[in-house]
């Protein structure tokens, strides 16, 4: 007996999770912890800024972080790097706001950050990490505790869970039910941010049919996004163009790409 199209259970159907930018932005309330993926979900961030959200604790780096600070949305930054690479050693709004004491910094580094996100994802009170032992990080960030491991007595850092209330990401494609398929790589840190967060919104270049997802289930990188926002070209303008086309729009042919490059 084959299921037919539109088969219902007790008269209800599987709920689609597609919302628009305005509704997605309303998920983020004043004072929440917000994590921002990379490539940056600029379409969603623009709506956050438009709403004038305040006092956020933000897990982000680079230029999207600087934009949120410049717009006055941020009270605290969980920061491992706030620079813009060549020619921009320190992101200007971050530097100004910290030096004036307008925002707080939860000082960390890449390994500590992903360890804290992992602890949150696995509902652990902390996870150990070695990078940062001997440095000033536990002094300037009292949430990081130096401890002796109970098995061998090695000195390590205990990293507490870092749990975003909302994670905002950008990816290539998703179906209506929150099955996301990044293409060309799962972003810089997106999967850690998704696993740790209470709720995740993913804006995508294309919304595709559930059948397309089923055709290649191994390609599904996020199995349960809470909401999908359709946002073609939605990571412009902060994603470098050449990277953008590689990671986000690989379905375009080279000759189509050459129009943009």
């Amino acid at each position: 007996m084959a299921y037919e199209k539109g088969f219902c259970v007790n008269g209800t159907e599987r709920q689609p999770r597609i919302i628009d930018e305005v509704e997605a932005a309303s998920w983020v309330q004043n004072g929440m912890t917000l994590a921002v993926g990379s490539p940056a979900p600029m379409a969603l961030l623009r709506h956050l800024i438009r709403r004038g959200v305040k006092d956020l604790t933000v897990i982000d780096s680079g230029l999207s972080l600087d934009l949120l600070i410049a717009a006055g949305c941020v009270r605290k930054v969980v920061s491992y790097y706030a620079g813009g690479g060549f020619g921009v050693p320190v992101a200007p709004s971050f530097r100004r706001a910290v030096e004036r004491g307008e925002i707080e910094v939860w000082e960390c580094e890449e390994g500590i950050l992903t360890t804290g996100l992992q602890a949150a994802a696995q509902a652990l009170p902390f996870l150990p990490w070695r990078g940062g032992v001997g440095t000033s990080l536990p002094e300037v960030n009292p949430d990081l505790k130096v401890f002796l491991d109970p098995l061998n007595g090695e000195t390590l850092l205990a990293v507490p869970p870092l749990k975003p209330d909302v994670t905002l990401l950008h990816a290539a494609a998703a179906d209506a039910y929150g099955n996301v398929q990044h293409l060309g790589g799962p972003g810089w840190i997106d999967l850690f941010l998704y696993r740790a967060a209470d709720r995740t919104v993913v804006q995508v270049e294309r919304v595709i049919a559930n059948e397309e997802i089923r055709a290649n289930p191994w390609a599904t990188t996020i199995a349960g996004a809470d909401a999908i926002v359709r946002a073609p070209y939605g990571s412009l303008s902060l994603s470098q163009l050449s990277v953008y086309f590689r990671l986000c729009l690989p379905s375009l042919s080279l000759s189509q790409l050459s129009v943009y490059l």
Partner: protein
Amino acid sequence: MPNDYSLQELMAIVLARDLKDGEVLRVGVAMPVVEAAVRLAHLRHGPNMELIFLGARMNVAHLYSLPMPAFGWDRRVVRWAESYSDTGHRFERLKDWHNHVFFIGGVQVDPYGNTNLIGVGPDYHQLRFRGPGSVGTPTLSTHVGRYYIVLNSHTPRIFVERCDYISSYGWGTGGADARRRVGLPGGGPKYCVTPLCVMDFADDTKRLRLHSLHAGVSEAEVRAQTGFALQTSTPIATTEPPSAEELHTLRTRVDPTGFLRR
């Protein structure tokens, strides 16, 4: 021609000479001298090296040239990658990093090669200068087999008796067992390369020591530009200038547009 080289070219060549075939070279962001050094070593004498630019891992020994990046994740460079890894997954095989090499900068460096990317000022909550943050340097400097401190300028503001904050532990408070004492598995910093000189770390104290002066630089000048007493090895060597072949390879195969000559 060998008399006519830029300091950045010299620094790149000095670093390249010290890199060995088969090593894994990890390059962070915004260090043109290092970008050139790993390319030069790979193309001249390192066909089995692996170059990792921000998680893009490649071997391009078959290429005549690999472009210098104009920005962090430059497509012209990362298109050659054999694999990518993201921020967290990069750290999944730290146990095998003995032959990995890293390069680090800093807004402050102390006599024991501890470095600071956090900021400058006695009160952390009122920094005079806020730095970019540690990126991944605490973890990298903890685990790599050795690393190099590479600086674009050599001033008393950078070379200080005490870093206001330490983001990467080099040789701590000194002594050959400085890293073992706190349980850091990696080999620590080997050289500090600046536009004036090359410094190494004395075997017993692990304090910075003048290793060689670049041509035309006096010992007095280095001392005046260093905010702490610098040991010297006697006699002080002159940094071996680039050979004609090194410069030719650098300028034709690594940096044809003169990134390091600007």
